[in-house]
């Protein structure tokens, strides 16, 4: 049996609407207009223990709603959701004991006391035995570099520091599943890397199942073995990054620096985009022409300085995917 089982999950929200302007506010005062938004429109998937899954989709696609249902915060309208054999919103207290949650835009730390005090409170809330708590805390402090931060009041931490503390706070009770809702939002490059490395580490070393939503495609590329794409409340794609790349576009990019002016290239399956200073960018389909073939044919007649082969940037793949599904 999978660790997380979701079947035909549905959730609608009522949204108040009115046009701007004073007259319209008067009208809305007398008569409210609401529209129903289908946040989730029949979502189904399974997750096995130890997976690291990226859950992506544009803003408003239903990512956070799914996370909130799986973590027992929201009650869905209909459908099935079982996490470790429990129904999150019915058996909330038993359920939340075994999961950890980080909402990138919220905070769970007590604002005006040092981080360590918040940790101590969580220890008692989750009834973590003292020995285990000390051990886990020390490990987390070590691997997230929190030595100095633990003694600082939360209000004086930077965003990156706070996020590292949030991650530690959500793992003190050694959950088997970790839900991360935009954990890297607003972080600088260094903090992002630290957070990423850490997520990878706990997934590998402790076998914690991680479900991650993000808009940062580098997060996805660096971390996730599996991607689920959601749009308009439905799962549109579910697979590995490679599968999704191939599904959207198998295209590769070869950038070549020539010694002299680049020649014009006209091979089947190759599109050339001219760059500056003797540089040429070739978009090619590896199933029509292989990379070795292409470079051999070019070097046969031209002297080159350097070349690089890349995948289509992940951002671009995702943008094309959103475009293709019209979400």
């Amino acid at each position: 049996m999978p660790q997380i089982l979701v079947e035909d999950l549905r959730k609608t929200f009522k949204v108040n609407r009115r046009q701007s302007g004073f007259f319209n506010s008067l009208k809305a005062f007398a008569h409210r207009q609401t529209t129903t938004v289908n946040a989730l429109n029949g979502i189904s998937f399974n997750l096995e223990e130890g997976e690291l899954v990226g859950y992506i989709g544009p803003n408003g696609a239903g990512k956070s709603t799914t996370i909130k249902i799986m973590s027992g915060i929201l009650t869905p309208d209909s459908g099935k959701c079982e996490v470790m054999g429990r129904i999150p919103w019915r058996q909330r207290i038993e359920h939340v004991r075994r999961i950890g949650v980080v909402f990138g835009q919220r905070t769970q730390l007590w604002w005006d006391v040092p981080v360590g005090d918040s940790f101590d409170l969580l220890k008692d809330i989750y009834k973590i035995p003292f020995q285990q708590y000390q051990k886990t805390k020390n490990e987390l402090v070590e691997s997230l570099g929190l030595q100095k931060l633990v003694e600082t009041p939360v209000r004086q931490l930077s965003l990156g520091q706070k996020m590292r503390c949030e991650l530690a706070a959500s793992l003190l009770h050694q959950p088997q599943i970790l839900f991360l809702d935009e954990p890297t939002i607003g972080l600088d490059a260094v903090s992002k890397l630290a957070v990423r490395d850490f997520i990878k580490k706990i997934n590998r070393e402790r076998g914690v199942t991680v479900i991650l939503t993000t808009h940062d495609m580098d997060d996805i590329e660096a971390l996730c073995s599996r991607i689920m794409l959601i749009g308009k409340g439905k799962i549109l794609l579910d697979g590995t990054i490679e599968q999704i790349r191939n599904r959207i576009s198998p295209e590769r990019i070869m950038t070549i620096d020539f010694v002299r002016t680049p020649p014009s290239i006209a091979f089947p399956g190759v599109n050339s985009v001219r760059g500056e200073d003797g540089r040429l960018e070739l978009h090619f389909n590896p199933s029509v022409i292989s990379a070795t073939d292409l470079i051999n044919r070019i070097t046969a007649n031209n002297e080159i300085k350097d070349f690089i082969i890349e995948n289509l940037p992940i951002e671009e793949t995702i943008a094309r995917m959103y475009d293709e599904f019209k979400i």
Binding site: F13, S64, E94, Q105, T107, Q108, I125, K127
Partner: protein, 266 residues
């Protein structure tokens, strides 16, 4: 249980960080108490009829009121209101605790902290005031016991009311309306402004059976020993029943609120 105790500890630590606030609170309580005491002195000086309480009793009642002032349910828990408005409420539901008692305990700890940081120092200060300006000692040993029991009852009741206000914010989002209306009711009908005994005879039964009398009036009259012994048990039961009813109502409201709660945005 340990979790709830731990919240108490943390909240105490938080309050201790704000020394200026504690000092200011103490000064305010003392100042307004003193103004009221002076008003009662003037009132009794020119008084020609028999009043329901003696001057000393009224002054004592006033000081006791100032000591427990911060425990009155004048609004919801500001911390919880903040959580609801900011959406950090989502995390509250991720804790393996009964949310109602989690919040209730936060209130209890807030109230306990204010009793320790405001009430006790004020008690210490008024002990040094000259006679008829300060506190008179409780009448008998049994009045100390019944006062202590009903003081705990008052805290339980007050927090149950305040918790309902916090919970109502899940519907209204701002809570401002209730926050303005309630203090007026609480301050008048608990006896905080004028002891309930001074209200007209015809209003007495209603005042007694309103839940607000349990917040101050009942414990203070037990302290002064002005209640007929036969009524002590009835009033204590009434007070604790009120607390029970408000807790029950709060539990029900919160469970129906969480079923329909929406954490907006992101």
């Amino acid at each position: 249980m340990k979790a709830y105790f731990s919240i108490l500890k943390l909240r105490f630590a938080v309050q201790l960080q704000y020394r200026a606030a504690a000092a200011a609170g103490l000064f305010t309580q003392f100042f307004f108490g003193f103004v009221r005491v002076m008003v009662f002195h003037a009132f009794y000086l020119f008084n020609t009829t028999i009043q329901p309480m003696s001057l000393e009793q009224t002054v004592t009642y006033t000081w006791l009121g100032q000591m427990v002032f911060r425990t009155l349910p004048l609004g919801g828990d500001s911390e919880v209101l903040g959580l609801i408005r900011s959406g950090n409420f989502a995390y509250e539901l991720c804790r393996p605790l009964n949310l109602y008692f989690f919040w209730y305990c936060r209130l209890i700890s807030k109230v306990a902290v204010s009793l320790i940081l405001n009430g006790l120092p004020l008690l210490f200060i008024v002990c040094f005031l000259p006679q008829s300006y300060g506190l008179i000692a409780p009448s008998t040993a049994s009045s100390v016991v019944s006062f202590s029991v009903s003081l705990v009852g008052a805290l339980l009741l007050g927090c149950a009311v305040a918790n309902i206000i916090s919970i109502s914010t899940l519907w209204t989002l701002s809570g401002d309306g209730v926050q303005r209306l309630l203090p007026a009711l609480v301050m008048i009908f608990s006896g905080n402004i004028v002891p309930l005994a001074f209200f007209p005879e015809w209003a007495q039964p209603a005042l007694r059976y309103l839940p607000f009398s349990g917040l101050m009036d009942i414990p203070f009259r037990l302290y002064l020993g002005t209640l007929p012994p036969a009524q002590v048990f009835t009033l204590l039961t009434l007070q604790l029943t009120c607390a029970g009813v408000f807790i029950g109502l709060g539990l029900w409201l919160l469970s129906s609120a969480t079923k329909r709660a929406v954490v907006q945005g992101g």
